[in-house]
Amino acid sequence: MPVHKLPLREAVWLVFSKDLLCEFRNRYAISALIMFALVTLSSISMTIGAVMLSDELTAVLLWIIIFFCAMAGLSRAFVQEQEAGTLFTLQIYLQSQAVIFGKMLFNIVLLMGLTVFIILLFILFLNVDFSLWKIFFVILVCGDIGIGAVATLTAAMVARAQGQHCLFTVLTFPILLPQFLGAIHATATVLGGNMPSVSQFIFMAGYDAVIISGSYILFEYLWYD
């Protein structure tokens, strides 16, 4: 009988489903992220009262909260596996690409869910009007994919290092900066009631494509000794 090789798509889905099941039962990451978003926004809301923030400040605030939520929770994708000792099991049983893309998918979905929650909090606490919501949605998706992809790759890089959490943020921020600034500018433009330029969208989507392609090429070197 020939050896069955699981197609990459199915293997990615298996890793994603496994992470989702473990997160559903533990709720480590999601609880921490929701509390972080809730505490930050309610503090700001109570501090500034009825003062309206400018579009630029609102955009910066939104992406800073998303970024720090990502830093607080997304490193767990690999760090938790390393701490539990299950990383070796994945090395033995799965192809490397399935692991990185399964975890990337999980992180992006988690971040998108969290972003929806943060947006609801923005509407509730800061009375922000997202009138161009379709364009805004595209910006959020591009930004979240970028943050989720970079966070997953750097989490894989630091998983075996000491001082992982500090190293994770230090490594992720410079890599993420171009996408971060692009997302802030595009969000500020949308909040001002204007359409961002096509080049801004091309840049954000291109950045995501480069990071995902880079992960595909680089991860095997990180995965094996």
């Binding site: 009988m1 020939p2 050896v3 069955h4 090789k5 699981l6 199915e10 293997a11 298996l14 496994k18 099941l21 473990c22 039962r25 533990n26 539990a84 000792g85 299950t86 070796f88 099991t89 090395q91 033995i92 049983y93 799965l94 192809q95 490397s96 399935a98 094996y224 000794d225």
Partner: protein, 208 residues
């Protein structure tokens, strides 16, 4: 299962910094044969197994895993092997059956819940198969590793101290499983210092 897997170790050596763990290992292990790797603690038994598994690279030499005249690329060879090792750790948030089904599916084996349950019963875990791994003792986790080997039926069995933490009945079950694998012409490599485990071996490497 394609039970024609040959493992060739050609002048294999491993060095950590200045320390030479082992060197010049040459061995061919054919289907239906069992190789025992023995040696004191820290001599590199587990390291050699990990190198054969492809998760660690030799400092010198070459490890070839193949079938007939063809040698596999690393990602392909992973699909032929199964490993029982103290370093294989399961997901504590999942049940025994869920771990078994997940890892079997990772290997492309469509393991149903019914079949997974039967395999758990075979290794003596029937009462605990639906309990989360956090409820398992170390011996029960070791039994689960063998249930996974039964599910994926690998052509190359890599066993690192396979009887560790097993009670008498567990060792008996493990013996039957290894014996059956050898009869089905699987290639078995076992790192051990237990005399009774070495009895399966037709060849031996002793690391200093």
């Amino acid at each position: 299962m394609n039970n024609n897997v040959v493992v060739q170790l050609i002048n294999v050596g491993k060095k950590y910094g200045e320390k030479q763990l082992f060197q010049g290992i040459n061995q061919v292990i054919k289907p239906g044969q069992c190789l025992a790797i023995t040696g004191p603690n820290g001599s590199g038994k587990s390291t050699l197994l990990k190198m054969i598994a492809g998760v660690s690279k030799p400092s010198t030499g070459l490890i070839c895993i193949g079938c007939g005249d063809r040698f596999f690329q690393h990602e392909e060879s992973v699909g032929y092997m199964g490993m029982v090792s103290p370093e294989i750790v399961f997901y504590h948030a999942m049940t025994g059956i869920e771990n078994l089904v997940f890892l079997s599916r990772c290997r492309g084996v469509a393991c149903s819940l019914q079949y997974a349950s039967e395999l758990c019963a075979t290794v003596g875990l029937n009462e605990y198969s639906n309990k989360q791994l956090s409820m398992y003792s170390t011996g029960m986790k070791q039994r689960l590793k063998f249930a996974i080997m039964l599910a994926i039926q690998p052509s190359l069995w890599l066993l690192d101290e396979p009887s560790s933490n097993l009670d008498g009945k567990g060792k008996e079950i493990m013996g039957v499983i290894i014996d059956t694998a050898l009869k089905q012409m699987a290639t078995v490599i076992v790192a051990t210092n237990e005399c009774w485990e070495m009895e399966y071996a037709s060849a031996q490497i002793t690391l200093a």
